[in-house]
């Protein structure tokens, strides 16, 4: 397994506030790494550093062992694709046109095939002539994912790919992402849903207040005590059976006192 991306001792400071403290992370071929943590933990910032959008104050990012500063914008586009939380398209482009945008500034031979196969994988071929803006949020999410896939990079960085999807669509999309990983791609993704990470990730990285509190296999790392501490709420992890991984649920207190203001 080759190292695809690695960040070493990364710290980010924005407006005098330290957002990431000394984060080290590596992902190899055929690996799905989930970045987890409460709101404001620094998940999206970490993804931004990994994408090359943010230059950290200290620490270095390596792509395939090479320092990220050696790569231009167009080099990076061949190495990693990034799925942002939300994309607003400013003019009425069609689904097909948007997926094709994943191929970047210069279209080449063979691009058409990549666009077609990305649309087939996300099952959006029959909405290719529809306007992006008339689609439901779930459909838009699939179009965006198809655009990322059409970019055809080894590394994919995803920011909450399932956030707007219903449970059926979520399982389907995660299934597609899992297949891509099993075929050898590397995915690093931010998730809010701990159960998605539990079922699909090879490895999880837990963040709280910009610090890395743990990392490892989901079943070993996402324990009731760790999660309760990180999310500051009592959380239980219940085993269902060996096939379906354990389920993470928040504990409802019967008489929850109103928080004092």
């Amino acid at each position: 397994m080759t190292s695809i991306i690695k960040c070493e001792n990364v710290s980010v400071i924005r407006t005098k506030k330290q957002i990431l403290h000394d984060i080290t992370l590596e992902a190899t071929t055929g690996e799905l790494v989930a970045i987890l943590g409460p709101n404001g933990a620094g998940k999206s910032t970490l993804l931004g550093v990994l994408a090359g959008d943010l230059i950290p104050e200290t620490g270095t990012v390596y792509y395939g062992g090479k320092n990220s500063s050696e790569f231009s914008q167009s080099d990076l586009a061949k190495i990693r694709a990034v799925l942002p939380q939300r994309v607003t398209i400013s003019f009425p482009y069609s689904v097909e046109e948007i997926v094709e945008m994943g191929r970047g500034p210069r279209l080449a031979d063979g691009d058409e095939g990549l666009v077609e196969s990305a649309m087939r994988r996300l099952e959006i071929t029959d909405m290719r002539k529809r306007l992006y803006r008339t689609l439901s949020v779930g459909e838009q999410a699939r179009v965006s994912m198809a655009r990322i896939l059409a970019q055809d990079t080894q590394l994919m960085l995803l920011d909450e790919p399932t956030a707007v999807l219903d449970i059926g669509q979520q399982e389907k999309l995660m299934g597609i992402i899992r297949t891509l990983v099993d075929e050898g791609r590397t995915v690093i993704s931010v998730f809010h849903d701990l159960n998605v990470a539990m079922s699909f990730a090879d490895r999880v990285v837990l963040l709280q207040n910009g610090k890395q509190l743990g990392s490892g296999k989901p079943r070993e790392t996402l324990t009731a005590s760790t999660l309760s501490a990180i999310y500051e709420h009592e959380i239980e992890v219940i085993g269902v059976n060996d096939d379906t991984g354990p389920v993470v649920i928040p504990v409802q207190k019967k008489t929850s006192p109103r928080p004092e203001r």
Partner: protein, 349 residues
């Protein structure tokens, strides 16, 4: 995951649009060449055209003189300026990610006019390209200022964009007013010309100055057609697919400055051509810039030719300033578009 197997694209084939526009272009050109204070009939028109610009000894020398010295330079200038303004509008809307951006409404033409007026007041109109260079500096500076001020978190806020445009237009109005205050009578006439916009001073010299800049600007803009499509994803996602956004921004601002300022330097402020033309074409055949750029150049030329034809025939023998006419038509259109966007009926088109 069920999908709805429909298409909601109501787009015309670009080839059909090209044919329609080309036919309209030729018809409008012939009309513009023959109509005016002195009517040149079609047969005569073709005859003087084939005689060439050299003075005609045998035939009707009036038709010959009107055609070669008045009509043809005017029609050529209308084509060049209209195409430049429309293409500047397309590029501007692309990098601002906003269909309301247009050289005149956001203050770029105003900036160019100020540059031109300053050059005239300083007596630089005697120097070749003196006015044009100042107009270019003014227009490009205004573009950069508007761009810098109206962007929040990588997006152009409509309200800020329009307010910035109002402020810059007010400032250019004031500076032009100041120039009128210190200028002598002769200069005042030319200075007023800049703020109202007209093709009345069209000469071959004016054509010769604008034409190369327009060709350079339009040719350069076509290199950005794919990039402008990608920019509609937003700055960050465009970067992620390999667009060097910062560099593209600087280059396109220079193109807008070049096209809008050279147009303004030749004819004064002609507003709203850059707004209406791309909008109509986007509705007709979709937003892809590859088709939008050439078709806007063509329709921009047609619209400007028609507007100029109306300006010089509606109240003939008096002539309406062209800029006044385009603003009379364009401003209500702008308000309608603004209203449509603000009520969310259509976020962008």
């Amino acid at each position: 995951m069920t999908t709805n197997p429909t298409s909601d694209l109501r787009r015309l084939n670009p080839r059909i649009v090209a044919v329609v526009l080309l036919i309209a272009f030729v018809i409008v050109i012939f009309n513009a060449l023959s109509t005016g204070a002195y009517t040149i009939r079609l047969g005569e028109l073709i005859r003087v055209l084939f005689q060439g610009p050299a003075r005609d000894a045998s035939g009707d020398s009036v038709a010959h003189a009107v055609f070669w010295n008045v009509r043809l330079p005017r029609v050529t200038l209308a084509i060049v300026v209209g195409a430049s303004l429309a293409v500047a509008g397309v590029v501007m809307q692309g990098i601002f990610r906003n269909p309301l951006a247009e050289p005149a409404t956001v203050g770029v033409s105003g900036g160019a006019a100020v540059g031109a007026v300053i050059a005239i007041t300083l007596g630089l109109s005697r120097i070749t390209l003196g006015v044009q260079v100042f107009a270019f500096i003014g227009g490009t500076l205004a573009t950069a200022v508007v761009y810098g001020l109206s962007r929040v978190d990588g997006k152009t806020d409509i309200v800020t964009l329009i307010l910035t445009g109002i402020a810059i237009n007010a400032l250019s109005g004031a500076l032009i007013g100041l120039a009128v205050f210190v200028a002598d009578d002769d200069q005042i006439r030319t200075v007023t010309f800049w703020s109202l916009g007209s093709l009345g001073l069209a000469t071959w010299r004016a054509v010769a100055m604008v034409l190369p800049l327009a060709i350079i600007g339009i040719a350069m803009s076509t290199r950005f057609s794919r990039t402008l499509d990608l920019m509609s994803l937003g700055d960050r996602p465009a970067e992620h697919v390999g667009v060097p956004v910062e560099r593209v921004r600087l280059q396109t601002i220079a193109i807008i400055g070049l096209l809008a300022s050279s147009a303004v330097a030749a004819t004064g402020i002609i507003a709203f051509v850059g707004l209406i033309v791309p909008h109509i074409l986007r509705l007709a055949m979709g937003p892809k810039h590859r088709d939008l750029l050439w078709s806007s150049a063509l329709l921009g030329a047609i619209v400007t030719l028609l507007a100029d034809l109306a300006a010089r025939t509606l109240l003939s023998p008096a002539e309406l300033p062209l800029g006044v006419l385009t603003a009379l038509i364009g401003a209500p259109f702008f308000l309608w578009l603004l209203r449509k966007m603000r009520t969310g009926e259509s976020t962008w088109s």
